[in-house]
Symmetry: C2
Subunit: 158 residues, 2 copies
């Protein structure tokens, strides 16, 4: 264990704060569908298959937190309906979703292989979520990476 | 929405299967501490601050699923105790944790800035979780990436 582990408060940890917003299975799955282009309640419901009240609650959280924005649309002869679209804040979670997916592809897939493959649209090569440094080294593993207190670190009072 | 969205079953989705194992806030936080080098129950408890029965359950899940392995150690004059160490399967979740952390650093950090900064051990430059393709293009955004059914895709019967 790093000798400084208990010198700093973990309450402002960015992983914890992220999980306070999206750290629940259905929330990630709603985001997954939004990345697949799903926008309407009925389509989210069909794709995810969770209870309607859970889906409503997750869409509300994601909208309240600014990862999705709600827009009203109306087709001729129908009543107005809501659509949910990813914001820049939501789109920025893409590397996290890809990283979770590739771990699952490796460790949990059926013998047949992964159900979905992701490619670079321009060149057709498969993509991966990887750790790279600003000097261009990578992909790096956990062993290549070192943490240190950042500007927002809060020392624990003795 | 992609026109093929509802042609395939999402039950074998790798994101869902990953979240079935680690998709709970405390589970991710246990892994966070394991990456910080924490190994003992008392240290996990001190670092995370969740209830002891929740911590026990999360350590059991992570051990049962093979992300942590339990080892017994004994210090002179003390009773034997368990240590929990990351396995290769656990270590491979590092990019997902880094991706969640950097999203939180951007969108949830205090005005002072992120509490922890991560660097490449060899060159000292900051690291990021990024999407790259096998041809070396990147970092890519969600818009640069296209999905298609993989070898394990299961068509939905009509």
């Amino acid at each position: 264990m790093h000798p400084d582990r208990f010198l700093f408060d973990a309450d402002n940890c960015s992983i914890r704060r992220t999980l306070d917003i999206v750290g629940e299975k259905w929330t990630f799955l709603v985001l997954r569908e939004a990345f697949y282009g799903v926008r309407r309640f009925a389509d989210f419901h069909r794709a995810i298959g969770c209870a309607r009240n859970i889906l409503s609650a997750r869409l509300k959280t994601l909208t309240d937190e600014g990862l999705l924005r709600r827009e009203t649309y109306q087709e001729a002869g129908s009543r107005p309906r809501d659509e949910y679209r990813l914001t820049a804040k939501g789109i920025e979670l893409f590397p996290a979703l890809v990283a979770l997916m590739q771990w699952g592809d490796h460790w949990t897939a059926d013998p047949a292989g992964p159900p979905v493959e992701l490619f670079h649209r321009d060149c057709g090569e498969p993509i991966k979520a990887e750790i790279h440094c600003a000097a261009g080294h990578g992909p790096l593993t956990a062993r290549d990476v070192q943490g240190r207190p950042g500007p927002g670190a809060r020392a624990v009072s003795a």
